[in-house]
């Protein structure tokens, strides 16, 4: 395995230092490092972050390989600076058995662009009725720790209680897609001024908040870890803040798109802005940013949701929900959080690497950039601004809501355990 | 030929030279009054007393002229002469050269036009296309026994085989000039102005100002400049 010296990197945005990478780990950090035969990577002006970890990625394989595959999705992840992604369970077949999660895990290892950690379904077929074999998935080669019916809410309170209790046996966590189903039947976008004007069925904030309120109380009651997927409203933030103040073991994530975009985008009726949960109001965006800054929301997760062109080039009502996000996440977080002085680069490292790795129990990921850590490193140039070009993306799909938008920053290099997956902005 | 009976007046120098920004009045109020009186008499003469005559003014200033002519005919004959208005916008052949325009009113007198002698009245006869549109519009309104044409000014440059039966004044012009008829009912005073046609000249601005927004809010509108 090659040895690398990364020269003049600003570790977590600090003063320039060199990083010596040897045998898949960080051997040394300091000034003017050198090693015989080492490849030199000039990182002058670049910020070094621990490799990013995504808690929420839809890789679509098996079942919808026309939208994304484990290979294409992990290439996109590497280009976005990620060294690990959690592959969501709503595939076809659903990842609700040891067999399917092991298949996905293996596909990830074969592709080699980043660690693929499968998420297991909470209920069989994500139908919300019977628990899936959570223990078998936990004990499989994939070592599943995060369970989610994402795309569907575990709306039955008894099933949710049982799942929360059951995963305690193997330190698992239930990641809830908080969406009260009856309140959101046929819902198309955030319920409010825009939905009233556009004549689209509203998706009330309370449909998310009611489930979060119930689940934090359940988690508190049974003493289990609960994770809230893609928090999107100011009210949800308030509930989570209250729950944490009471010592509830709840964690939460927010997506990059909910940190930057609001529901006025739906005015174009372009379904590239159709997503679940929906884009909310500008006030919600502000609340989410502050919650991420103060730690009420623990991490950023992309909810990368690829869809083929024909699923989006339609009337809004029949279009698929979801957006791709792996390749723009860091730029969006810089725009929404760093350039607004809400978060520094150390904060970004926590919210996009350490915290998600901790929640997902990935021991080899999200570790601090110090000697002895696995060499999972992202080198990021925050200075350039560029218009987002969907055609230049590594993902198989093109449904980015940021197309044409000017965003800062660019991932220059990604190292996965000492091996570059991206170098000079290009996949290796 | 009726229009042969009336020779154009005035030397060439009366016209405004190209480049002179100011439009020049070639007819004033009394000239217009005299011309209409003469046309009224000619109509009575040619239609043998004007018993079946219906005057139809083409929107906008043709309508004013038709009303004035009807008044003069009544003065002479001692009985009212039916008159009405005709909007030809929907029949124009140049609709697609400009944005769609507001419509004027088409109002026929109660007598209608069937078996009548319809005298179309307009302010300026130029290419003949407006008259062509009027003939088409008339065709959809009924079947007159005959159709005649009266205009205050004939400025030449016909593009269709159309001629006027009654002409107030023949006015030789170049294609680049504009002829603008002002009528007190629409424009606060009576006059016929001749001016250069450069798109944004002061003359055009002056003409726009003079038209006072009555009927032809846009100088490119149906009756603004001819």
């Amino acid at each position: 395995m090659s040895t690398y010296v990364i020269k003049n990197a600003r570790i977590l945005g600090g003063d320039p230092a060199d990083i010596l990478v040897r045998d898949g780990a960080i051997a040394e950090i300091g000034p003017d490092l050198d090693a015989a035969g080492a490849q030199v990577v000039d990182a002058t002006g670049l910020v070094a972050l621990p490799g990013l970890v995504d808690l929420h990625t839809h890789l679509r394989e098996p079942g919808r390989e026309d939208a994304e595959t484990v290979e294409s999705g992990t290439r996109a992840a590497a280009m976005g600076g990620y060294t690990a992604v959690h592959a969501m369970a709503n595939t076809d077949p659903v990842a609700d058995t040891a067999g399917v999660v092991e298949q996905v895990w293996r596909l990830g290892r074969e592709a080699g662009y980043c660690d693929v950690q499968p998420v297991g379904a909470v209920t069989r077929g994500i139908a919300g009725e019977q628990l899936a074999e959570l223990g078998a998935m936990a004990d499989s080669a994939a070592r599943v720790r995060v369970f989610s019916d994402d795309g569907h809410c575990v709306s039955d309170a008894v099933i949710m209680r049982r799942a929360l209790e059951y995963v305690k046996a193997f330190d698992g966590v239930v990641a809830q897609h908080a969406q009260e189903p009856r309140l959101t039947e046929g819902a198309q976008m955030n319920e409010g001024e825009m939905s009233a004007a556009l004549g689209m069925r509203g998706w009330p904030a309370v449909a998310e908040e009611a489930i979060i309120a119930r689940d934090v109380l359940l988690a508190q009651h049974v003493g289990s870890r609960l994770h809230i997927c893609h928090v999107s409203t100011a009210g949800s933030v308030e509930i989570i803040r209250w729950a944490k103040s009471k010592g509830c073991p709840v964690t939460a994530e927010v997506t990059p798109h909910h940190l930057l975009l609001n529901d006025t985008r739906a005015g174009s009726y372009d379904p590239v802005f159709k997503v679940n949960p929906p884009l909310r109001t500008a006030d919600d965006v502000t609340a989410l940013r502050h919650a991420l800054a103060d730690g009420t929301i623990d991490c950023v997760a992309t909810d990368h949701a690829p869809h083929p062109v024909e699923a989006k080039e339609t009337e809004w009502a029949v279009a698929a929900m979801g957006m791709i996000g792996l390749e723009t996440a860091l730029s969006v977080v810089q725009e929404a959080m760093v350039d607004t002085d809400l978060l520094d680069w150390a904060g970004v490292a926590d919210r996009m690497s350490a915290a998600p790795a901790r929640i997902g129990r990935l021991s080899g990921q999200g570790r601090p950039l110090e000697a002895g850590s696995p060499a999972n490193i992202t080198l990021y140039d925050p200075s350039p601004r560029r218009a987002v070009d969907p055609t230049a993306m590594a993902s198989k799909s093109r449904n980015t809501p940021f197309a044409g938008l000017e965003l800062p920053g660019r991932v220059v290099a990604t190292f996965l355990r000492g091996r570059p997956t991206v170098l000079e902005g290009k996949l290796q | 030929m009726v229009n042969a009976a009336y020779r154009p007046e005035g030397p060439e120098g009366e016209r405004v030279a190209d480049g002179d920004p100011r439009p020049k009045a070639v007819l004033e109020g009394p000239d217009i009054r005299r011309a209409l009186t003469r046309i009224a008499h000619e109509i009575l003469e040619r239609t043998k007393g004007g018993h079946d005559v219906v005057l139809l003014g083409i929107q906008t200033r043709g309508v004013t002229l038709a009303e004035r002519l009807a008044g003069k005919l009544e003065e002479v004959e001692g009985r009212p002469v039916p008159w009405g208005s005709l909007d030809v916008t929907m029949y124009r052949d140049d609709l697609r050269m400009k944005p769609a325009r507001a419509l004027g009113r088409t109002e026929l007198p109660a007598e209608g036009v069937d078996d009548r002698v319809v005298v179309l009245v307009d302010d300026v006869l130029f290419s003949g296309r407006t008259v062509r549109a009027a003939l088409d519009a008339l065709n959809d309104l009924g079947r007159p026994r005959a159709v005649q044409l009266a205009v205050l000014v004939d400025r030449g440059h016909r593009e269709l085989p159309i001629r006027a039966d009654y002409v107030g004044k023949n006015l030789p012009t170049s294609m680049r000039e504009t002829v603008k008829v002002l009528l007190a009912e629409n424009d606060e005073r009576d006059a016929v102005l001749l001016g250069p046609a450069s798109g944004r000249s002061e003359a055009t601005a002056a003409l726009r100002g003079l038209s006072g927004g009555s009927g032809g809010s846009s100088p490119l509108g149906d009756k603004g400049e001819k």
Binding site: E191, G199, M200, Y269, A311 | D87, M90, R96, A100
Partner: protein
């Protein structure tokens, strides 16, 4: 410039008045024996109806034919990726046919907006989902203006299922543009949550509003709303929000009663009210042709549209 009529909000006051004035002149022509005008000869208008609506389609068809346009009727109930041809493919077909104007009726809100991005011609929204129906609002305004003289300061009360009504949305926007004062009356379940952001007053009490109304517009209420618990029973709805003879009698002398049709007699409107002299329901149908002729003429008659709004991607 490519302009469309997708929302009543696309119209400035000048636009709206131009349409109403044009409709007024065109309406006079509809009284003649020869009703046809040569204005749109050689232009192609496609009526693209993804949802059944014989009344609206016939109205647009008559309007286009009276202006001598070539009319192509295209009915395609239900469009989705799963059901075969997509809206985009239909748009490409229209392009190949060289449609100058596309009149679209669709069950999905925003479908006309999407279509406008994919075709060269002007798009006219003939009703999209629960969004808007701008030509209905124009013919309603035209009807009100004829009966009442003008709209400035007039009090218009719109009663019923505002939440799901494209007619209500377009009417509130257009009437506000034209200076009328609109009040919507409905059970709270049938109003959008953000109704306070609309340019109108809101009331739950029909009886309080009627004596001050110059116009009462009754919206159709659909039975399936009862099944979704928007109101308990049709009888209760009718008792609280229906226009019966007793309620009609408290209206001012000059007030008119409107309904966009089709009516549920005995539910939102009593038969005696629908057939009374105050009712403009039959006039509305006739006025629809004139209003739509005006829209088609002003969008397609000239070198470029004289009304409407551009659509951004």
């Amino acid at each position: 410039m490519k302009r469309h009529l997708i929302s009543a909000a696309d119209l400035t006051k000048d636009d709206a008045l131009l349409i109403l004035d044009t409709a007024e002149e065109l309406d006079r022509i509809s009284g003649r024996s020869i009703k046809k005008l040569p204005t749109l000869r050689g232009r192609t208008v496609v009526n693209l109806f993804f949802e059944d609506s014989t009344r609206t389609r016939i109205s647009f068809e008559a309007a286009a034919k009276r202006l001598s346009a070539d009319v192509i009727n295209f009915s395609a109930k239900g469009s989705s990726v799963s059901k075969g041809e997509s809206l985009k493919d239909t748009a490409l077909t229209l392009e190949a046919m060289g449609a100058d104007g596309v009149v679209i009726r669709h069950s999905a809100s925003g479908a006309p907006h999407r279509l406008a991005n994919w075709v060269q011609g002007s798009v006219v929204n003939a009703g999209d989902g629960t969004h808007e129906h701008p030509t209905q609002a124009l013919l309603d305004a035209f009807t009100m203006r004829r009966r009442l003289g003008g709209l400035e300061g007039r009090k218009v009360t719109i009663v019923g299922d505002v939440l799901h009504s494209r007619v209500a949305r377009s009417n509130v926007l257009l009437l506000d543009t034209l200076g009328a004062e609109v009040t919507v009356v409905a059970p709270p379940t049938l109003l959008p949550v953000a109704i306070d952001t609309w340019p109108c007053e809101v009331s739950y009490d029909l009886d309080a509003v009627l004596p001050k109304s110059d116009v009462v517009m009754m919206l159709r209420v659909q039975h399936e709303r009862m099944n979704a618990s928007y109101f308990p029973t049709v009888r209760e709805y009718s008792r609280r929000y229906g226009l019966d003879v007793a309620r009609m009698n408290v209206l001012p002398e000059h007030a008119i009663v409107m309904h966009p049709g089709p009516m549920n007699r005995g539910v939102e409107i009593a038969a005696e009210v629908a057939d009374s002299v105050r009712s403009t329901i039959v006039e509305q149908v006739a006025n629809g042709v004139s209003a739509r002729m005006a829209v088609l003429y002003l969008l397609l008659g000239g070198s470029e549209p004289a009304i409407g709004k551009e659509v951004s991607e």
